[in-house]
Symmetry: C2
Subunit: 352 residues, 2 copies
């Protein structure tokens, strides 16, 4: 008979034992593990081995490393049920507890939705792993399905090959099961809002034109302009920001008062810089902003806008996004033959 | 105690009795009912009353009127289970057995998907009913959910008010739960195909710019042009077809060999006419066609294209659309608080 299973390393066996402990009821979220030295003694392995086992648990999101202070239990261990285990895979090179505000919010909403459906979920960041290493790790855990938040197309490709059901969040491919913000409609609403406020020369600022999200956002703007009977102008489309020369071209455009009277900002990280520039130079420009699903940016900007008018903008509920993703994944696990579809959660326009 | 239930009319009571018979196991799909005269005798009611009862069953899709030849059983009666009853509502003024090829295909796929999930579904066309009359009828049947194929926004509005779970097929509103073809991506793929074939001046022909579908299709075209570095030209966008003057403008454009070298046709009913015109006048224009989900149009055109090259085009699977709609409705019935989302089924590009 061919041998298809390799024997586990000592570090892997030790990680299994640690994991079993963590999944027991004597360990709570936030507990701090004993020191590496003590753990090595207890499990009768070397310091090097225990460190390697702990780093596996870190990768899996069971514990976090507290930077010289030890390891803290991260994953809720109550009610762990392997048959309902799913994973949340982040395509970032940072570790999963170093997520940005949006990814963090998405992750905590995914946890909440998963829990309410009786599922257990753990987070796994790509860091320096290859897509196939991620896949291997997920198979080891016998996950029933995966939610992927990554632009990297290799991760879903590998998961598909391995037959693991998956749902992307905010994906760049129309051929993958996904849940997204409604890029087209968001951009359409923003542009239309400026049109309704009397703007005739509206510029667009955004990026990611190589990805479907960017294409849809540009399309929403161009479509709304055409339908309003307004011309589009190549020089009014400032893509691939943030990029200093591109920012310069906005400054040039906005200085020439005849050039543009409205601006759709599809890249929220730039809002502060743009608003500062406009107010310093006393340039009035009607703004419409893609707040995104990131509550933090919105709040930061609102604070900054105490004296200025807070611009109109669109946002979506991360909570809706996460809940849709979990429901979709559950459906796909139950019915792997289900046709592929992208689901767009609604964008909401707020004008104050 | 306030009286909230009115007593049923004789015609309604008789319809109930007939319905109970139809739901029994002695009646098969395709059976022909006895004559009105015989039925009136059997149920001891007047001809007028039995006609009125039968017309209720026609409305509900249980039987169809065969125009002087009697009534035929339309609805599969096996396994009828009121607790799983859903409806397919068509916003057309024609009756539901007079659907066009696409609606008919969608309906038969909805039936198939529903059946495979143990649900019973009946069709109901708007005809001359008001939205609230439709809603009343659905409530009478105690449907658990409704799939709506209609541009009329009043039908979903009324259903929402009545708290009946619903999923739209191909809806015009981003605020409604729906399953759609991926309009943006379809248009993007078609335009991009022409770009990749060397076209530099691509025209767009479509309609429905007042609805989100049209806006998205226009957006896909404009976005693809911009990203390819090509200019869009207002006179190359021929909307609100079919309209003779608009067709004339295409003819004018295509005669001037420098004006356009490619054409995206987003309104499949026009394909034949356009192709005939081009071939009669020996005008070469690269075409890219929105075949839609309608297998009939595609086949008709393919037959016509025996001597000419069949143009590249995109289509979606009506089967995917129907299955997604049924799954989505099932999910919404189980979880009415589920966030609203539009689901886009994939568009497939075929170049021969």
């Amino acid at each position: 008979m061919p041998k298809i299973i390799r024997s586990k390393s000592l570090a892997e066996k030790t990680a299994d034992k640690l994991r079993a402990q963590l999944e027991g009821n004597n360990v709570s979220l936030g507990d701090i593990l004993c020191s590496e030295r003590e753990l090595a003694l207890q499990y009768k392995v070397s310091r090097k081995t225990i460190r390697s086992s702990l780093s596996m648990l870190v990768q899996e999101g069971f514990v976090v490393s507290l930077d010289r202070k030890g390891y803290q239990v991260k994953k809720p261990t109550v009610g762990t049920d392997k048959s309902q285990l799913i994973a949340y895979v982040l395509g970032t090179e940072t570790r999963h507890w170093e997520m940005d505000a949006y990814s963090h919010e998405a992750w905590s909403q995914v946890q909440k939705s998963a829990l309410s459906m009786g599922k257990n979920v753990f987070a796994l960041a790509k860091e320096d792993m290859s897509a196939s290493q991620i896949c291997e790790r997920l198979l080891q855990h016998q996950v029933k399905g995966v939610i992927v938040n990554a632009d990297d197309p290799e991760i879903p490709l590998e998961l598909n090959k391995a037959g693991i059901p998956l749902v992307m969040i905010d994906t760049a491919s129309p051929k993958l099961e996904s849940v997204n913000q409604d890029n087209f409609n968001g951009a359409y609403q923003l542009t239309n809002h400026l049109v309704e406020n009397g703007c005739k020369n509206i510029a667009w600022m955004g990026r990611h034109l190589e990805l479907i999200q960017g294409q849809e956002r540009l399309g929403g703007y161009l479509s709304a302009l055409h339908i309003a009977g307004l011309k589009s102008n190549k020089t009014h489309i400032i893509s691939s920001v943030p990029d200093k020369t591109k920012l310069e071209s906005l400054k040039k455009l906005s200085k020439d008062s005849k050039a543009i009277d409205g601006l759709v900002i599809m890249w929220p990280q730039l809002i502060e810089e743009v608003v500062d520039y406009l107010s310093e130079n006393k340039i009035h420009l009607e703004l419409a902003v893609w707040w995104g699903g990131n509550p933090e940016i919105k709040d930061i900007c609102k604070k900054k806008f105490k004296k200025q008018k807070v611009p109109a903008g669109v946002h979506w509920n991360v909570c809706d996004l996460a809940e849709s993703a979990i429901l979709k994944l559950d459906e796909r696990i139950r019915n792997p033959e289900k046709p592929i579809g992208r689901t767009m959660v609604s964008m909401h326009l707020t004008t104050k």
